[in-house]
């Protein structure tokens, strides 16, 4: 402003004054709406403070931390096996997937690699937890947008997947099945046949959801063009998973990363969508469930025989070093930066969870939308509170 010439400055002041007059005339008293911490749309305890003008959001800001459990601190007083039990509570809907990157990071530090049968079973369970997680998202999406039926379909069919996970690992939600060097146990008999049947059911479920929700004109009018995230913004916020791929970024860590898992032995499509809006994000997730069922089917055919556990000492001491491993989790890229100083437990674990980055775009995204669109956008970004707060 100091650099402006006199006439420019006068013109500037005049325009400011004119704006102010118009604003005073039109201005209505704003309202601050507190969405959450207890609100059905935040499925958990996220709080969104929104400044409204009528039903339009002027400014919004999520306030996380109502479920902060301090996992990064807790890992410092636990041994590696105990941390495994802890981390599968981060994203509680796809819990097996949380264990994998942590275990892989520890294995990397130890220089151990799980036997190929263990890698296969890990990948199967990983994809099953993705299906369990995302199918619930598809049902929940309906509830957020006012359709009450899809969520019951989702709970119905997710149950079959959870039964599989429970049958194999013993835990419905928190399997704690991964061990450094392999798996706790082999699959129980009958798992493969059962899984094939369930995968068929899940594909039917996807068709039902597609007919019930995605094909619905109301659903489309609610989600298309709402909350558009351009590619470069998505990258600079560190968005990941379906949120990133819905912005047209063809990047999937399952395909593009060389880690000791069995994805590279399967043939699957990475789903992308060019639009970057809420519909694209939901649609990408729906298609990913389909792809996951196909991945599981392929892996079931090719499970190699052999042990599920590499030779590791009974008391695990991880050599000094630092390692970063991230995988394509149901919610996006989940990574662990593990620092070990040669003890039984890690020295520091940085948990890079997908939802934390995914939700940090919310203040940018919510400007100027309507109150119902807040719900749509939050639902389509898909976060799990445990994954934000850790």
């Amino acid at each position: 402003m100091t650099m402006l010439g006199d006439r420019q400055q006068l013109a500037y002041i005049a325009s400011q004054a004119a704006d102010a007059r118009v604003n005073v005339e039109l201005e209505t008293e704003g309202m601050t709406l507190n969405i959450g911490p207890q609100h059905p749309a935040t499925h958990g305890t996220l709080r969104i403070i929104a400044r409204l003008d009528g039903e339009q959001v002027v400014w919004a800001e999520p306030s996380a931390g109502y479920m902060h459990r301090g996992y990064e601190k807790l890992t410092e007083v636990r041994t590696f096996p105990q941390v495994t039990a802890l981390v599968n509570r981060i994203d509680w809907l796809g819990s097996f997937a949380n264990e994998v990157p942590f275990i892989l990071a520890a294995e990397k530090l130890m220089g151990v690699e799980a036997p190929s049968r263990a890698q296969h079973i890990r990948t199967i369970l990983f994809e099953l937890s993705r299906i369990a997680n995302v199918s619930l998202f598809l049902g929940d999406l309906g509830v957020q947008l006012g359709a009450i039926t899809p969520v019951f379909f989702a709970f119905r069919d997710r149950e079959y997947v959870l039964n599989l996970i429970e049958g194999a690992t013993g835990g419905r939600f928190h399997p704690n099945f991964d061990r450094i060097g392999g798996l706790k146990d082999d699959l129980p008999a009958g798992f493969i046949d059962e899984t094939r049947i369930v995968m068929k059911k899940l594909r039917t479920f996807c068709d039902q959801i597609e007919d019930l929700l995605f094909g619905n004109e109301i659903f489309q009018s609610r989600t298309r063009g709402i909350g558009v995230i351009p590619k470069d913004v998505a990258l600079s916020y560190g968005l990941s998973g379906a949120n990133l791929r819905a912005s047209g970024v063809d990047w999937d860590l399952r395909r593009d990363q060389d880690i000791p898992m069995a994805w590279n032995k399967t043939d699957f499509k990475v789903i992308t969508h060019p639009d970057g809006d809420s519909f694209a994000r939901c649609w990408v997730r729906l298609q990913e469930v389909r792809e996951s069922t196909k991945i599981v089917d392929q892996l079931l055919d090719t499970i190699p025989a052999g042990p599920v556990m590499a030779k590791v000492p009974k008391i695990i001491k991880v050599p000094e070093g630092e390692a970063w491993v991230s995988t394509e989790n149901p919610l996006g890229e989940m990574g662990y930066y593990v620092v070990s100083q040669g003890d039984q437990g890690p020295f520091r674990v940085k948990i890079r969870s997908a939802s934390f980055n995914n939700i940090s775009i919310v203040p940018w995204l919510l400007k100027g939308v309507y109150v119902p669109d807040i719900i749509t956008i939050l639902a389509s970004l898909y976060f799990i509170l445990g994954d934000i707060d850790r």
Binding site: K73, V77, G238, K311, P313, I315, W324, Y337, I361
Partner: protein, 219 residues
């Protein structure tokens, strides 16, 4: 204590990783004197440590070099915990514990380090960037103007470690109450849950009456 399995203790010839070597050379050239130290583990990852003055410039240059995907920003407190580690008795005497600071990859001179990770989209080539945080300054430049996603990560690091980020738009607490005192992720911040309860590792077996032999800790 136990020998590791045979797959690990044979020191094989480290395989060459030409892609990452070229990348690291490119980065070192672009950053010039800002880099204090660098490390490359073939087929794994790259680490560099930069000076505090060039911290923000590093982000800009790396972004220009194609590292446009923001991973995270966080910090590490290298002080060994005075309350012991993993299964140790946190309420026990802390005098015997080793308190010498042992730094990680690419070294460091200070107790606190900020660590960040950037990735080249569509590949998995990422880079871990560390910077020392001097104890008397306790602040580095903010990345939030370069990577929008750094905003929240820096807020988290600020409240958890007490590290300031110069130029950050608002460093409010994310998780903790506004009037919370202390920085929970610092190693000298006690984890209360492990202190208020008696440590369960004490073998609580009464010896036989008249039994002189002291059992001590079983393990």
């Amino acid at each position: 204590m136990f020998p590791l399995s045979s797959t690990t203790d044979t020191p094989t010839e480290a395989p060459r990783d030409t892609v990452r070597e070229a990348e690291l050379a490119r980065i070192l050239e672009a950053l010039g004197a800002g880099v204090v130290d660098s490390l490359l583990k073939p087929n794994d990852d790259m680490w560099i440590r930069v000076t505090a003055e060039t911290w923000r410039a590093t982000a800009e240059k790396l972004k220009a070099l194609g590292y446009t995907y923001f991973g995270y920003v966080s910090a590490i407190d290298w002080l060994p915990s005075p309350f012991g580690k993993s299964e140790d008795d946190a309420s026990g005497p802390s005098g015997e514990r080793d308190s010498t600071i042992k730094q990680g990859y690419t070294g460091g001179d200070t107790r606190f380090q900020v660590i960040a990770r950037l990735v080249q989209p569509f590949t998995t080539i990422g880079i871990n960037i560390k910077v020392d945080v001097a104890d008397d300054v306790m602040a580095v430049d903010s990345w939030s103007s370069v990577f929008a996603g750094a905003n929240w990560h820096e807020r988290e690091a600020h409240e958890m470690f007490g590290i300031g980020f110069n130029g950050h738009p608002d460093l409010r607490n994310m998780y903790l109450p506004t009037d919370f005192e202390g920085h929970p992720m610092r190693k000298d911040f006690p984890l209360l849950a492990r202190i208020v309860k008696p440590w369960p590792g004490i073998v609580d077996v009464e010896p036989l009456p008249g039994d002189d032999e002291e059992e001590g800790e079983a393990s």
